[in-house]
C-alpha cells in the first residue's frame, strides 16, 4: 500500500463497456467474440463508399437500463456526432459517438473502501461504436487489421475524479462490472475485451484545491493492470514533482511486462477531433412510456438484493453480499432457498460445497452440473433425516460428476439411508461401551472429547450412515449423562 505524505491523488475512470446486443450498433453484423478475422465485418462496418449507418434500437434500452441503475438522468433526445481522426482500425476515418448530448447524465455508485462506504459520482454515459483491432504480431513486417470489432456497441461511462487511490479505482471498476453484468447490459468478460478502462490520474499537495496536471492511461483490461498502472503513475508523478520537475498533460499506455506507463502523445500534439452532428442519423426521441417500461422491468440491484436476503432469508450480511454479488448465483440461491426449510442451509451448501467446487474446477455458475432442483432434493433428504450431513457431501460429489442424477434414487441404489432406528443403534452402542470401559468412564467423568471417539467408532461400524444426533442421544442415555 502506497503512502506519500503531503500528497493526495485524484483519479477518474472512463470505462468502455461493450453492450451485449446480438448485432452491432449501426449494422446488422454479429457481435460474437472470436470469429475469424474480418468475417463479421459488413460493408457498413468496413466503411465502403456509399454505405450508411442505421441505429440498432436495442442499444438504447441497454443504455437506459444502465442509467436508471445508477440513478442518472436519461436524455430524452439522443443524437450522434462524428469524432474525426485517422487510424487504420477506424474504417470511416471517424467514429460515430455522442459528444454534447449523451444519453445518460449524472448518477452515482457506492463502493466499499477501508475507510467505509464512498460515493463515486458519474458524469455521463454515452453510446458509441468500437473500432477494429490492430494486430501487430500476426505478420513480421506489417500490422494486420481485424474489423470484426468495428461497430460493436459501446457504452462509455465517465466518472468524476472522486477516487483517491488505486484501491478506490479498483473497487469502482468492480462495482461497474457487477452493475453492467447484473443489468444484462454487458457480459463483463474482460479477457475478451468486453470491459476496458482508461484512467485519468493527477496528484496535488494536500492543501491544494485545484487538481494537478493529469495523465490518461488508456486501454487497461484487467483489475490487476488497473491497480498496477495507477500505482506506477502516482509514484511517477509525485517523484517528478518532488524532485522539482514538472508534468505535462499526456496520454500514456501501460506496459504490463515492465509494469510502467509510457507516453503516447502529449497535449501539444493532441488531436482536434472536429466533432459535428452525424448527418446520416436522425436524433432519437425516447418516450416516457419507453423509459417507464424499462424502469418497471429493472432487476433488483445487488445492494437491494443483499438487504433482502438478510431480511427475507435471515442470512448474515457477509453471506448475503456474497450470494447477491452475481445475479446467476443469486438466482441459484433463491431457487434452492425456496425449496428447503432453512435458507441458511442452502446458503451454506452454496457458499461451501458449490462455490468450492466451481472454483476448484474453474467453472462458471452458469455451467454448474448440479442444478438447484438437485440441491433442494439433497438438502431435503438431510432435513428429513434420511441421510446424514456427511453422506450428503459424498452425494454432492456424485451429483457433480454426474454419477448420480437424483439424490433420492442414488440413496436407494447405494443403500445410504441414515440409520436412525434406536433399535438398531442401541445394541451397537452398548457393545462399544462395554468394549471400551476406560473411555466410557472418562466420558462419564466429564472428558467430553471422548464423545468424538465413540461417535467415530459408531460411524465406522455403520459405514458413516448412523444418524449422529441419534448416536449422541443414545450414547448419553446409556452412559447416564
Amino acid at each position: 500500500m502506497m503512502n506519500f505524505p503531503g500528497w493526495q491523488v485524484d483519479i477518474g475512470l472512463e470505462i468502455h463497456a461493450q453492450l451485449n446486443t446480438a448485432s452491432k450498433i449501426f449494422s446488422g453484423s454479429a457481435t460474437a467474440f472470436g470469429a475469424t478475422p474480418n468475417q463479421q465485418a459488413s460493408f457498413i462496418d468496413m466503411g465502403l463508399p456509399g454505405v450508411l449507418p442505421v441505429a440498432n434500437g436495442a442499444v438504447f434500452e441497454k443504455a437506459v437500463r444502465f442509467g436508471l441503475g445508477i440513478g442518472a438522468k436519461i436524455n430524452r433526445v439522443s443524437k450522434f456526432d462524428r469524432k474525426n481522426y485517422f487510424y487504420p482500425d477506424l474504417p470511416k476515418g471517424y467514429q460515430i459517438t455522442q459528444m454534447d448530448e449523451p444519453i445518460v447524465l449524472g448518477g452515482q455508485v457506492t463502493i466499499e473502501t477501508e475507510a467505509g462506504e464512498k460515493i463515486i459520482r458519474i458524469t455521463r454515459a454515452h453510446l458509441e461504436e468500437d473500432a477494429g483491432k490492430s494486430v501487430h504480431d500476426a505478420y513480421d513486417d506489417a500490422t494486420a487489421i481485424d474489423l470484426n470489432r468495428a461497430g460493436t456497441p459501446l457504452l462509455e461511462i465517465v466518472s468524476e475524479p472522486d477516487m483517491k487511490s488505486a484501491a478506490d479505482a479498483v473497487a469502482y471498476a468492480r462495482k461497474i462490472h457487477q452493475l453492467v453484468t447484473y443489468l444484462d447490459v454487458c457480459d463483463g468478460n474482460m479477457a475478451e475485451g468486453s470491459l476496458r478502462f482508461d484512467a485519468n490520474i493527477s496528484v496535488r499537495r494536500v492543501n491544494e484545491e485545484t487538481l494537478g496536471v493529469r495523465s490518461e492511461i488508456k486501454n487497461l483490461n484487467s483489475f490487476r493492470f488497473l491497480e498496477q498502472a495507477i500505482h506506477f503513475e502516482i509514484e511517477r508523478q509525485i517523484q517528478t514533482l518532488e524532485s522539482g520537475g514538472s508534468l505535462i498533460q499526456d496520454t500514456r499506455l501501460f506496459d504490463p511486462d515492465r509494469k510502467e506507463t509510457r507516453q503516447m502523445r502529449s497535449k501539444e500534439t493532441s488531436t482536434d477531433y472536429r466533432y459535428f452532428p452525424e448527418p446520416d442519423l436522425l436524433p432519437v426521441e425516447l418516450s416516457d412510456a419507453f423509459i417507464d417500461q424499462i424502469q418497471a422491468g429493472m432487476p433488483e440491484l445487488p445492494d437491494e438484493k443483499s438487504s433482502r436476503f438478510q431480511s427475507e432469508y435471515h442470512l448474515t450480511e457477509a453471506d448475503a453480499r456474497l450470494l447477491a454479488n452475481d445475479l446467476t448465483l443469486a438466482n441459484y440461491f433463491e431457487a434452492v432457498a425456496q425449496g428447503v426449510t432453512d435458507p441458511k442451509t442452502a446458503a451454506n451448501w452454496i457458499k461451501g460445497d458449490l462455490i468450492g467446487k466451481l472454483n476448484e474446477t474453474e467453472t462458471q455458475i452458469s455451467s454448474t452440473p448440479v442444478s438447484p432442483k438437485q440441491l433442494v432434493e439433497l438438502i431435503g433428504l438431510i432435513e428429513q433425516d434420511v441421510i446424514s450431513g456427511k453422506i450428503a457431501k459424498d452425494i454432492f460429489q456424485a451429483l457433480w460428476s454426474k454419477e448420480a442424477d437424483s439424490p433420492r434414487a442414488y440413496v436407494e441404489e447405494k443403500g445410504l439411508k441414515q440409520v436412525s432406528d434406536a433399535g438398531a443403534l442401541e445394541p451397537l452402542i452398548q457393545t462399544l461401551i462395554d468394549a471400551n470401559p476406560k473411555q466410557a468412564n472418562d466420558l462419564r467423568e466429564g472428558k467430553d472429547k471422548l464423545m468424538g471417539f465413540f461417535v467415530g467408532q459408531v460411524m465406522k461400524q455403520t459405514s458413516g450412515q448412523a444418524n449422529p444426533q441419534q448416536v449422541n442421544r443414545i450414547l448419553r442415555n446409556l452412559l447416564g449423562l
Partner: protein, 486 residues
C-alpha cells in the same frame, strides 16, 4: 426525329408494338456511344456486354407480354452510384479501379423497373464541381458546343442525354449538380425533396445536401424515372418513409389558380440578358396557362453560397476520410510508414478541387473555428429554409433562373474557384432547405440552351413536374437537340 431523341412514351409504344426490340434499341445507342462519345467524353465505363444481355432478357419479357413504363429503356447512371461488380469511380483516381460489392438503391430500383443500363457517366470528382472539368477521366464537352462545358457535377449524364447517347440519365445534386448541367444542356432535371430518394450506395459528398434525381428530355420522362428511383429504404435513416406519389399520372394538373413567386432581388444583377428575357417569356407563358405571379422576398438568400461552401466541404472532409489507401482504392507505391501511406495516397489520389474542399471543410470544423463557421452556417441555413417556408404560405412554387449565364467555355473559370462557386447561386438554396427543385429548358441564346428553375415545398415534386409539363405542351425548347455535333 431519330430514335435517339425520342421520348420514353414513343419508345414504349415502339417496344410494346414490336416496331423495335430492346436489343436493337440498345445496339443503336451503344453504336452511337462508340462513334460519338470520343468527342464528348460523357461516359467513363460503357457496359456493352452487360447491356446487351439485359436487353436480351428484357426482350423475352416483352415477347411474353410483360408491360411496364421503363421496361427496355436504355439509360445511363452517373458514376457515383455503386453498381455491383461494375467499376464505380466517382470521377476520381482514388476509385479508378474500384468495383462495389453491392448496388445503390437507386440503381436497384431502376433495374427492377426494367431499364437497360448503358454505362456509367463522367462527373466532377466526388461530385465537386460545376463544369465537369474536375474529373480524373478528363473534361466533358457540351454537345451543343464542344468548346463549352456541359455543367457539373453531373456533366457526363447531361451531355449523354443531350447528345442522344442514352434516353435519360441519373444524376446527383448537392448544390445544383443536376439542375445546372440540365440548364446548360437543354434538359429537364429534378432534384427531389431531401430524403425522397435513398442515398444507400450513392458515394457521399455532403450527407445533409446530396440527393439523386433524373435528367431527361422532358418532365414526362423525368416523372417516370423519379417514380422508379424514389421510395422508402430502411438502409438509409434519412430516407423518407412516405410513399412515392405516382408522378407520371399527376403531371396533367392545369395551372389555373397556381401562384408562382418571383424574387426581384434574384433578378436584379449578375444575370445575363438573354436569360432575363427568357425568364420574362416564360412568365408570360405560364400566365397564359393560368398561373398568377406574386412578388416575394427571400431575405437571407444571398447568404446561400457562403453557408453552403462551409457546410458541404465540412461534411465532405469527414465523408472522404475513408479514402486512405488502407482497405480499397488507390494506394501509393512503397509507403515508408503509416503517415506516408496516408499523405501520399490521398495527395496522389485526389484532384485539386477535392483537396481544396477537404482543407476548407477541415478548417471550418476545427477547434476555435467550429462556432464561427460550421455552427454559424447551419444557423443561417435554418433562416434560409425559414424564408422559403414563409414564402410557401403565399405561393405554390417559386420561379428563378437556374444559372446566371449559359454554358461557359472550357477553362473559363478553372483558375477562379470562387467564380466557379458562384455558378450555383440560384440552385444552392434548395439543397440547404431540402426542397424539391426542377430545371427545364426555356430558351436558346447563341446556340446554347437556357434553363429556368422552379422550387417547390417539401414533397411537391408532382406540382413542379406538372407545371413544367404544361409549359412543355405549349413550347418547343425541350424538343430541340444539338445537330451535327459529331
Amino acid at each position: 426525329m431519330s430514335i435517339e431523341f425520342d421520348s420514353i412514351q414513343t419508345l414504349r409504344e415502339a417496344l410494346d408494338g414490336k416496331a423495335i426490340s430492346a436489343t436493337e434499341l440498345t445496339k443503336h445507342f451503344l453504336s452511337r456511344i462508340d462513334q460519338l462519345d470520343p468527342s464528348l467524353n460523357s461516359y467513363i465505363t460503357v457496359e456493352h456486354e452487360r447491356a446487351l444481355s439485359t436487353a436480351a432478357a428484357i426482350d423475352k419479357k416483352l415477347l411474353a407480354g410483360e408491360r411496364a413504363p421503363l421496361l427496355g429503356i436504355p439509360i445511363a447512371e452517373k458514376d457515383i452510384f455503386c453498381t455491383e461488380g461494375v467499376r464505380t469511380t466517382a470521377g476520381s483516381k482514388m476509385l479508378a479501379e474500384y468495383r462495389p460489392p453491392f448496388d445503390s438503391t437507386a440503381t436497384a430500383n431502376l433495374a427492377a423497373a426494367g431499364v437497360i443500363r448503358l454505362g456509367k457517366c463522367n462527373l466532377d470528382e466526388f461530385a465537386m464541381g460545376s463544369s465537369n472539368e474536375n474529373s480524373y477521366f478528363g473534361a466533358v464537352k457540351n454537345p451543343w458546343n464542344q468548346e463549352r462545358v456541359p455543367g457539373g457535377s453531373s456533366g457526363g449524364s447531361a451531355a449523354a442525354v443531350a447528345g442522344g447517347l442514352c434516353v435519360a440519365a441519373t444524376g446527383t445534386d448537392t448544390g445544383g449538380s443536376i439542375r445546372q448541367p440540365s440548364a446548360f444542356c437543354g434538359l429537364t432535371g429534378i432534384k427531389p425533396t431531401y430524403g425522397r430518394v435513398s442515398r444507400w450506395g450513392m458515394i457521399a459528398f455532403a450527407s445533409s445536401l446530396d440527393q439523386a434525381g433524373p435528367m431527361a428530355r422532358s418532365a414526362a420522362d423525368a416523372a417516370l424515372l423519379l417514380e422508379a428511383m424514389a421510395g422508402p429504404d430502411e438502409k438509409d435513416s434519412s430516407c423518407l418513409t412516405v410513399p412515392v406519389d405516382p408522378y407520371s399520372t399527376l403531371i396533367r394538373q392545369p395551372l389555373e389558380g397556381m401562384r408562382i413567386g418571383i424574387v426581384p432581388s434574384l433578378l436584379a444583377e449578375g444575370l445575363s440578358e438573354s436569360i432575363a428575357e427568357a425568364f420574362e417569356d416564360c412568365r408570360k407563358g405560364l400566365e397564359k396557362l393560368g398561373a398568377t405571379f406574386v412578388e416575394i422576398e427571400l431575405m437571407h438568400h444571398h447568404h446561400s453560397v457562403g453557408a453552403y461552401y462551409v457546410i458541404a466541404p465540412a461534411e465532405a472532409s469527414a465523408n472522404l476520410a475513408r479514402y486512405d489507401g488502407v482497405r480499397f482504392g488507390y494506394r501509393c507505391e512503397d509507403p515508408a510508414d503509416l503517415q506516408d501511406l496516408y499523405l501520399r495516397s490521398r495527395n496522389e489520389g485526389f484532384g485539386d478541387e477535392v483537396k481544396r474542399r477537404i482543407l476548407v471543410g477541415t478548417f471550418a470544423l476545427s477547434a476555435g473555428y467550429y462556432d464561427a463557421y460550421y455552427k454559424q452556417a447551419q444557423r443561417v441555413r435554418r433562416l434560409i429554409q425559414g424564408d422559403f417556408l414563409q414564402a410557401f404560405d403565399q405561393v405554390d412554387m417559386i420561379l428563378t433562373p437556374t444559372t446566371p449565364t449559359t454554358a461557359f467555355s472550357l477553362g473559363e473559370n478553372t483558375e477562379d474557384p470562387v467564380a466557379m462557386y458562384l455558378q450555383d447561386i440560384y440552385t444552392i438554396s434548395a439543397n440547404l432547405a431540402g426542397l424539391p427543385a426542377i430545371s427545364f429548358p426555356a430558351g436558346m441564346s447563341l446556340g446554347l440552351p437556357i434553363g429556368l428553375q422552379l422550387v417547390g415545398p417539401h414533397l411537391k415534386e408532382a406540382t413542379l413536374l406538372s407545371c413544367v409539363h404544361q409549359f412543355q405542351q405549349v413550347t418547343d425548347w425541350h424538343h430541340q437537340h444539338p445537330r451535327d455535333w459529331a
